[in-house]
Amino acid sequence: MIHVVLIVFLITLFYLSIANRMLTYVKVLALQGVLLFFIVFLQLNEINTLNLILILLETIVFKAIAVPVFLGYLLKRNKITREAEPYLPNFISLLITTTIVVATILLSNSIKDTHLDKMFFVVALSTLFTGLYFIASRRKIITHVMGYLVIENGVFILSLAVGNEMPMLVNLGIMLDIFASVLILGIFLNKIGDVFKDVDVDQLTNLKDY
């Protein structure tokens, strides 16, 4: 069952790589939050209840509701155009995402480790690198933020793989999530929307050596 959820999570990455509209990105991020909720529920069956409730609340309230709602609000408030405007065509995006996933599967084959469920490793690492690819290939600052959120989801999955032995690490991951998301989303995207009229990375090129 848990593998099914993980594979669905992997499929959302492919969908994200060909998505065209900003709202689709927001919806997929919300879906990823829900999927993470199920993964936590199925995976972390050895930790104490209070901690489990905390983690479940973080996935469903923070990842699946608060962040997407806030992103939608930002889109509206800053009047960001609906297109994602990638540098590369969608087909190539899809090819690159596939390459990343295949490469992580090949890498996971070289692991001889009975402690770890390899599925977690594959999904987590491919999410991480796909997120990095999104950051590198999209033009808008807000898509960079979404790429970062995708990376965080990948890291969260990886922390779940060791979550039963070391619940402290999952809690640390949650701390990172909330801290970085609030810092990046809350404070600066508001400011950036106010100062830079059209939010585009091409405008962030004024710091020069001369």
Binding site: L116, I151, V155, L169, L172, L176, L183, V195
Partner: protein
């Protein structure tokens, strides 16, 4: 003690944030400096003891904590001069002082922590407080610098976290779940090499954002450019040392495993590329602050080359990082005075500094001699030892290339500095240049003198502390 320090410093930061009264602000800043020095003295008196489980007063931490406490005093004095000179709204001023206290506290706690996750948490807090400081001017360029810094630091911090996760997988093979550095070293022979390799790659890449090394060095450059110069001094000295602590403590773990040679290779490549990249930028850079920042990248490259080559290089690396912190911070402090004279940070609009501020020009000249490691600078000694370690590691070709690159850096650096000091700027109207008291430069002279003294005639305790901090590394 660390508990009292953390609670005290955080409450001082909150009080500074709320304070709108100048005298109260002074009192709080003074109180913080006293607290900082009490912690430093306490760490010497309770050497090697552990506090609150997660903080140990070991040799490396004590050394760097002392450097931080030394630099903190002029940093706060120069911040005050800076804020008097460029009046900011009271609210901005309160945020500035609160963030600088928070930054210094987080860095101190990061040095002292003996647990990789705790180091990571305090590194995160430095990102938060540094970003508030970089955004001090509240304009478009400052926002751009802050955004880049926050975003890249957020990614790098995530990388460190992924590294910690892989490390915990490696540790599971040793049947333990305690991620403290002491336990990692004790279990180093049982760590799974595959996970350890991945962990090292991620943790190293993550901490390079703070250390200022290829690949993540870019954020730091923009940050030091846009932050007020007293903050730039902290970012390019003590915060870089925090990145070094993060990498070095984990490197000690890896060095005790069969992966030692591989880790040296990774560090060596990143270090060499840093020296190379900083050379390329130094040659064409025209912004004085960015020039100083790139010089920092070069020095960190040299430090990590020393670590990668081993032997005498370990000792040289620690010595170099301490001396570099003293020298680079004094140059950045001097920049506030330079800016007050010329109101510009482009080389083209700056010149003949000796005419307007003799004491400041002397600092710049001495700082240049120190930063390029010419005798009698203390960095000459440490850099010479790094070259010796390269020689002893039979990396003659690398040594020759690095020496050539350093020559180019000295040429580019010298060309710009001598332009600032002696050649009059075109169309510069010197009718209303402010008079700058030579006393303002006194702290910078003290820092530079300390760097020379520690390099040429190191006290025995100082040498012993450095030797003890590299004790766990294989010979």
């Amino acid at each position: 003690m660390i508990g009292i320090y953390l609670i005290g410093a955080f409450s001082i930061a909150i009080a500074l944030f709320l304070s709108r009264n100048k005298i109260l602000t002074f009192g709080l800043l003074g109180l913080f400096l006293v607290l900082q020095w009490v912690l430093t003295v306490y760490s010497f008196n309770n050497f090697r003891s552990t506090d609150l489980n997660y903080f140990t007063y070991d040799a490396l931490a004590t050394l760097l904590l002392t450097v931080l406490s030394v630099i903190a005093v002029p940093a706060i004095i120069h911040s005050h001069i800076y804020l008097e000179d460029q009046p900011a709204p009271t609210e901005t001023r309160s945020i500035y002082y609160a963030s600088i206290v928070l930054l210094l506290t987080a860095i101190s706690a990061g040095y002292l922590s003996n647990h990789i996750a705790v180091t990571w948490i305090f590194t995160e807090i430095t990102t938060l407080s540094a970003s508030a400081l970089i955004y001090h001017h509240r304009n478009k360029l400052a926002l751009e610098g802050t955004w880049k810094y926050v975003f890249i630091c957020a990614i790098s911090i995530t990388f460190v976290f992924v590294g910690i996760l892989f490390l915990s997988l490696a540790l599971e093979h040793a049947g333990s779940d305690d991620l403290s550095f002491a336990n990692l070293v004790a279990n180093s022979s049982k760590l799974n090499p595959f996970w350890l390799q991945l962990a090292f790659l991620f943790i190293f890449t993550g901490f390079t954002a703070k250390l200022g090394l290829v690949p993540m060095f870019t954020a730091g450059i923009d940050a030091k450019d846009k932050a007020p110069a007293p903050v730039g001094a902290l970012l390019s000295s003590v915060l870089m040392n925090l990145g070094f602590v993060g990498i070095f403590r984990f490197y000690i773990v890896v060095a005790n495993t069969p992966l030692h040679h591989w880790a040296n290779l990774v560090i060596g490549i990143a270090a060499f590329l840093s020296v190379f990249v900083s050379t390329v930028y130094m040659i064409k850079v025209k912004n004085i602050k960015r020039m100083f920042a790139y010089s920092g990248i070069e020095h960190m490259g040299l430090v990590m080359l020393g670590v990668a080559c081993g032997g005498v290089g370990y000792y040289a690396a620690i010595l170099h990082i301490i001396l570099h912190a003293l020298v680079k911070s004094s140059i950045f402090f001097q920049f506030t005075q330079l800016y007050r004279v010329f109101q510009n940070k482009s080389i083209y609009h700056v010149g003949n500094y000796f005419k307007y501020n003799t004491a400041g020009a002397m600092v710049l000249l001495l700082g240049f001699i120190s930063a390029t490691a010419m005798p009698p600078s203390g960095l000459f000694v440490s850099e010479f030892m790094i070259f010796r370690s390269l020689f002893e590691a039979h990396q003659i070709f690398l040594l020759v290339v690095v020496l050539l690159l350093l020559t180019m850096i000295i040429w580019a650096f010298g060309k710009n500095i001598f332009k600032i000091l002696f050649i009059p700027a075109v169309d510069f109207d010197d009718s209303n240049v402010p008079k700058i008291s030579p006393w303002e430069s006194s702290t910078q002279f003290i820092l530079l003198a300390a760097a020379i003294y520690l390099g040429l005639n190191p006290p025995t305790e100082f040498v012993n502390l450095i030797k003890e901090s590299i004790m766990l590394l294989p010979k």
